[in-house]
């Protein structure tokens, strides 16, 4: 019988690409991961990994086994969820991951709602880099997380995870010193998120769709800072509704026909866990009215 513990390592390897990263994610030494994968390979009787350069790649048999591992892990997750269902009086920790602007604008109301429903529940919120959310969920460091996606960025469904329908949809705004269209900012300096982030990709693509490649001057992730810089005449930026709560004087927001959607994500099979479904319900009822609507 294949060992699930080892299958989990193989799955993480499939997602993270290197043994070192798996070890990092699961708080092991790389040596331990290597040893366990060797054992798995021996008891599988089939080569699962092959060294390519200084990394390892999964063989087709390995990738196939990962598919099964996903299914098994999802089923175990579901079994745990159903188990939690039978014990009444929801209690214990619920580890929630979120991106910064939701943490500020959404999470407090959601937690208040949740506390009213289930006083025993102990929500623990952690701001997490959106790129690391998947790994944190799979590694069991988080139970549920708020993730977002942009119109222009193709959403890749991560295997092993599941997401809800969008909890809310925000419009995007062009933040500048005067009203105007995107295309008029061809020559203006831009303030964008750091490279290799979802926000950055989205902003660049928006500019490209308007017919130009943006000149990036500042790389800032925090929307409050971004708006302050816009107010100081340092450039223009794209900000979502949640990041544009209190624009400083002198900053003009122009609504664009682009949207950011926020969903809840969790491990596949965990959607029926009472704490997680309660969180999602709280999310839906506590979401500020008019978020998807006017200005």
């Amino acid at each position: 019988m294949l060992d699930v513990r080892r299958l989990r390592l193989l799955r993480e390897l499939a997602h993270l690409g290197t043994i070192a990263a798996v070890a990092e994610a699961l708080s092991f030494s790389p040596s331990a991961v290597s040893q366990q994968l060797s054992v798995l390979e021996k008891e599988a009787g089939v080569p699962l990994l092959e060294r390519t350069g200084r990394r390892v790649t999964l063989t087709p048999a390995g990738r196939n086994l990962v598919r099964h591992a996903e299914a098994v892990l999802a089923l175990l997750e579901q079994a745990g969820a159903e188990l939690a269902h039978t014990k009444r009086g929801l209690a214990g920790p619920l580890r929630i991951g979120t991106y910064p602007s939701a943490a500020r604008a959404i999470i407090p109301a959601v937690l208040a709602e949740l506390a009213g429903w289930h006083p025993g529940l102990e929500p623990m919120v952690t701001e997490v880099d959106p790129a690391a959310v998947g790994a944190a969920l799979r590694a069991g460091e988080l139970d549920v997380a708020l993730v977002h996606e942009y119109d222009l960025v193709p959403t890749d469904p991560e295997p092993g995870l599941a997401v809800t329908r969008p909890v809310f949809t925000e419009p995007m705004y062009l933040a500048a010193r005067a009203p105007g269209t995107l295309a008029e900012q061809r020559g203006t300096p831009w303030i964008m998120a750091p490279p290799d982030t979802l926000c950055r990709t989205m902003a660049v693509r928006a500019c490209e769709a308007a017919g130009f490649a943006p000149r990036v001057r500042h790389q800032i992730d925090d929307f409050t800072t971004v708006l302050a810089l816009v107010g100081a005449g340092q450039g223009v930026a794209l900000v979502p509704h949640l990041g544009a709560a209190a624009p400083p004087p002198g900053v003009v927001l122009t609504r664009l026909p682009m949207y950011r959607r926020t969903r809840a994500a969790f491990r596949a099979g965990a959607g029926s866990h009472p704490a997680i479904s309660a969180f999602v319900s709280a999310l839906h009822t506590a979401v500020p009215p008019g978020l998807g609507g006017g200005a």
Copy 2:
């Protein structure tokens, strides 16, 4: 995350009823099983067992968890089977369980067929008490087994196991010293299998269907011995085709409108294992022609 090793113990408990039996089946001490189930219960957070008298019973939550355990174990079995599929050149041991008459009449031809197809395969045949076949399969002591069922005995599908369609269907015979019908044996002494066996149940029900309760004189399991006793005028008996190969002189076989069906059984999910499906194929091709038909 629930531990699959422990879930397996819980499943066995659901089938076998006592911790001692689980320990026996899996070659552990009862103490080890008890400890592991305690840990499982603790990490489930819900009572799974309750002491009723001097045994333990599963709570509803426990039974529900067993359902999930079955699913997980079947999935793991399937993953292992698919893995074996990729390694070509079928090799290694295949542990086959069988009831005695099939061992004599069917298995040799099947093994010969199988050896021709896959020389590397090492079949290991064990005669197993039909009542213990399920436990032996689940415990991993057998990979595949020949099991039979009778018309008159309701076949209860064991969870955790899967069976093929009938491999062959044998007619049943009334073995006596003269031709005759079942109903005519109302007053004759009977030779039957020991109590609490499938054969015994079948024979008793057949008599009841013919309108009488049989007087059982001898309790013998081996059909050759049974026929010898019939020949010695010690009574009459019901024997399946496979058990009636060479009736001794003086014994007359009268065919009855009743049948015994033989199937192959294996752990749920293992049906796609190449060695097992090869065995089933060999079974179908090597089965003696006319077994389901004439005489």
